[in-house]
Symmetry: C2
Subunit: 365 residues, 2 copies
Amino acid sequence: MEPAVMHSALVIGTGLMGTSAALALRARGVDVHLRDVDPGVVRTAQALGAGTARPPMEPVDLAIVAVPPPLVGRVLADAQAEGVARHYTDVASVKAEPQHEAIALGCDTSRYIGGHPMAGASRSGPLTARADLFEGRTWALTPTADTDTETLNTALELVALCGAVPVVMEAAAHDRAVALVSHAPHVVASLVAMRLRDAGERAVSLAGPGLRDLTRIAEADARLWLDILSANAGAVADLLEELGDDLDRAVEGLRSIATTDEAKRRSGTETVGSMLRNGQLGRERISGKHGVQPERFETVTVAIGDQPGELARLFKDVDRAGVNVEDLRIEHASGRPAGILHISVAAGRATSLSTALQDQGWRRR
Amino acid sequence: MEPAVMHSALVIGTGLMGTSAALALRARGVDVHLRDVDPGVVRTAQALGAGTARPPMEPVDLAIVAVPPPLVGRVLADAQAEGVARHYTDVASVKAEPQHEAIALGCDTSRYIGGHPMAGASRSGPLTARADLFEGRTWALTPTADTDTETLNTALELVALCGAVPVVMEAAAHDRAVALVSHAPHVVASLVAMRLRDAGERAVSLAGPGLRDLTRIAEADARLWLDILSANAGAVADLLEELGDDLDRAVEGLRSIATTDEAKRRSGTETVGSMLRNGQLGRERISGKHGVQPERFETVTVAIGDQPGELARLFKDVDRAGVNVEDLRIEHASGRPAGILHISVAAGRATSLSTALQDQGWRRR
């Protein structure tokens, strides 16, 4: 059997996700047909160069159903009845309910595999679409009990053409995972943002980038997110309940800190402190700084003297060397020199940085 | 009386905040003296060009106490006893407790004004300091009952020299405000991040930029934040309790959506939907996109035809015109053309964009 090569695709629903996938496929030479219930939206996608609004003359290799979660089952069933494609996938952010509906509506589940690219934007519609929207992103694929290997391979090809990284998992496991990493956090961001609605002008003026980052996802299309949360309501509610228990413990810890009872204060400090440290540990798992390949850094050490501004001059010389600094740490000796600076750089860049600094008269240590 | 001009300052505590203020003052020609209980840290700040570790020979204009919240009162009292400066301020993130302590320790509160620049970083220490850390940021100033006008003016000068925007408010009002916009959100970010600590590898792989943004502040120094939260524990606990009530309502709404009872589903949908919409409204107040000067945009309208890729070509021409696009909206006519594209640009840029597009053959509408 020769390897599958996708020649043609039909995108059903040309919003942000569908149009972005269409643009990525077009860029790799796939014939893309576009369909949407809203003729204006499909004309916009066509005008963006995402493909043609003409219906395909024969079944395409892959139909990509890019409609809101509650409509996936119905649209898939209709498309299969029409026989518009050899293989079918979707890009909805929940996977168990669409799969149940597809089964209930008598779809050919051997020709269908669920899909969910972990990308999006706070705005919706084809105008926000980008060919590189999925680049480097995880794309979950959720086979049914009888998904054909060729259907899986066609979906894997779609993921590869979009530059994304596939992860195959069960629909239910997927939904629990996105409740954890996306849906429950979305609700939390909305609740924090909601508290700002009626806050005083002065208080709001104190908001900094941390709060802006935290609440950014609360900007997203409320109607779209109501659909997403509704389709995964049970799993999201479970997680928010657990979070509520943690929140109760945090409140209790803070109340203890606010008392004058020394033993209570100590126990409250322990509670809140351990929560902050565990938060750091959880955060490290997604910070992109740790875990993946920590061994890919090298360190250059430089002795720093006592002259005012000496570090400032060193940083200028590092800048001029054109080497990206990944991390900095200073070690103070007890004698005269201000200390030893440890400069972490990407593997392979240490030698050139070291040479450049020695040329400028810096002493290695 | 001639306007006050700051000639000299003493920074007590050369961590991130103190060293950044010192760098900003040095850049504006102020003589800066540096002091820290850790001699290595003060040598690092000096090596960064933040000032001199030599003690001042005579009282400086302003002493900036940049130590953790629980130490502010004590350090201020000692510095005043030493008579090291004419005016005193601090940069701690809570204001009521340091003020109470200053009073309890018998400080000269007429020569002291609390301060809190709304800036920081997830890492601490002088190596992360930057002269522009406070640029464009809000800097709260909290006078005591008898703060001298000259002390206020000296602090205002510090804020101006750092490029920040001053807001004068009462210490208690400040602490409630930062509980709302900073401290309670920090706890929430930590709790969300904490849930990731023991999550499965596959689930974590689905995390996207939204969750990374939401939990970014949970990276911050846990010890530092334990101090901050402890000093404002009551106000933070109050806010987290309100948030807990909202969370309970969200869980209830989601549970209703997950039932088969149509009336319950409708009411749950209403609850969750209104929460998402109110979250958007709250978020708008800090998004930086709305509110401040919405009238400073102008719109260029262009008619889009039916050719595949027409919008893609238009976007290239907009790019070439070198005009930044603030917003895009498409309006679909019912006739032949794909629609009318509305391009929002900064005031004063519309004419040049319009001309450039007409030169490329685009029709204005």
